[in-house]
Symmetry: C2
Subunit: 239 residues, 2 copies
DNA sequence: GGTTGTCAAGAGCAGTGCTCTCGAAACTTG
DNA sequence: CAAGTTTCGAGAGCACTGCTCTTGACAACC
């Protein structure tokens, strides 16, 4: 078999294939450990044990524990991003407010199922950890859904600009850059509201998931929907 | 000296005093280590080394590392709570919106200075950690500031109820309990908005502190003020 | 004075991230 | 095909962690 490989075309040698497979297996086991014991409970030695090799061998694939964690963080961003994109697409023919509400519910559902991965990307970062460049792409997927949605709403006339609050020159240029990059013709007032709604989404999920609503709110589902419905109405129409 | 102690009235013996002092010293060193290396970098052994005793001796004062962490968490809640109360008191003669804006700015400032402690209480909880009963009191101080402020605004007529959004029976009873406990005569519509504003405050600080605005927002101060100003206007007047 | 309770210290266990070396296997090149 | 090179897994080892148990000394009480 290996003697008749089609040459250096597809992932080259058997060794390269084995390397890719093992990298994936390590990541898979790591993801399971992460889901079960949390980020700080992710032990390279334990993962190695389960994969069936000695700990030092894992370092051939991930140069440090943090690098394994980074790979899992990227996967998590991609998972929640794909989730948000799917939720938006599923309601593409509805109004902007409904689409955003759908995205909110999808993100929360994902967070509830993958609690530790959510905490990993939207909770406090691990202590000495600085997010490498490779994460910013996947991390942008969810915000991009929101921006695309707003751009649609502006062209369709669904989103009302309303009064533009006074803002500093620097903030105005930040918003201008954002508009140029990802949200053509979305006015500053709407972009500013979008940040508020985005912060409120993450804040509400955090309140629930990190226990700050304990003994206060009991019907989490209804509470979240209530909050996000108000927020998405606020998003499309200035108060 | 110790022979003429006034008897078993004030903290009894010299040993008890030494115990209290050492407990405080351990906590102080722990707080410094926490601020410097983060929660997961809080090493009981390192703290012991710096206090000048062997690690096992520390266990006489805190039965486990998590117990030391709990003590620090309570202190952090108290610190930010006191900070919020002071900010509210400093603007007591201003309007409700200004008072809340003041509280928001104060909490953010505290978070920027005490980043790791903020992450400890408002970021993702440490993995296996379940907040013990003793934390719920101090944790309530900031929300109580918001609720008291709203109660003031309702009696003074500053806060407009607006339309009450439809909500489930359970959520209504949650809000009723909250009203009975800490915010007399604040209507459901206002309480519901308060959760939104509270979530938005924490969400905005989290976005900034956990790096999600990197390369997007550059003037963090102005951005935060912009967002919170809108939020506090929204709080007092229904959209 | 003798008893009792408290305390710091030390040794030790099981676990961690990470580094280094070594031999064997797989691949590349002459 | 054979020699040389790269890659890989295994093992030992270092410095560290949280935590437990035992030992000996000191202070507090009867």
């Amino acid at each position: 078999m290996t003697t008749t490989t089609p040459g250096p075309s597809a992932s080259r040698t058997a060794r390269d294939r084995a390397r890719l497979e093992l990298t994936e297996e390590i990541k898979a086991v790591g993801r399971r450990h992460l889901a079960e014991h949390g980020a700080s409970g992710l032990s390279l030695r334990a993962v190695a044990r389960e994969v069936g090799m000695v700990s030092s061998a894992v370092y051939r694939y991930f140069p440090s524990r943090d690098d394994l964690l980074t790979a899992l963080i990227i996967d998590a961003y991609d998972a929640v991003g794909e989730c948000a994109e799917a939720a938006d697409a599923a309601a593409r023919d509805r109004g902007v407010a409904v689409r955003w509400l759908n995205v909110c519910e999808a993100i929360r559902s994902w967070a509830l199922v993958n609690a530790h991965e959510y905490a990993l990307i939207y909770g406090s970062p691990v202590p000495g950890y600085a997010a490498p460049e490779a994460t910013i792409g996947p991390a942008s997927r969810v915000p991009l859904v929101l921006l695309r949605l707003l751009a649609d709403g502006v062209t369709s006339g669904e989103v009302v600009a309303g009064d533009t609050p006074p803002m500093s020159r620097v903030v105005r240029s930040d918003l201008a850059l954002l508009r140029r990059t990802a949200a053509p013709s979305v006015p500053d007032a709407v972009l500013s509201r979008a940040f508020g709604v985005w912060a409120q989404l993450l804040g509400t999920i955090n309140l629930e998931m990190f226990g700050h609503l304990h003994n206060t709110i009991h019907d989490y589902d209804a509470f979240f929907t209530l909050q996000m419905r108000r927020a998405s109405e606020f998003l499309v129409q200035a108060g």
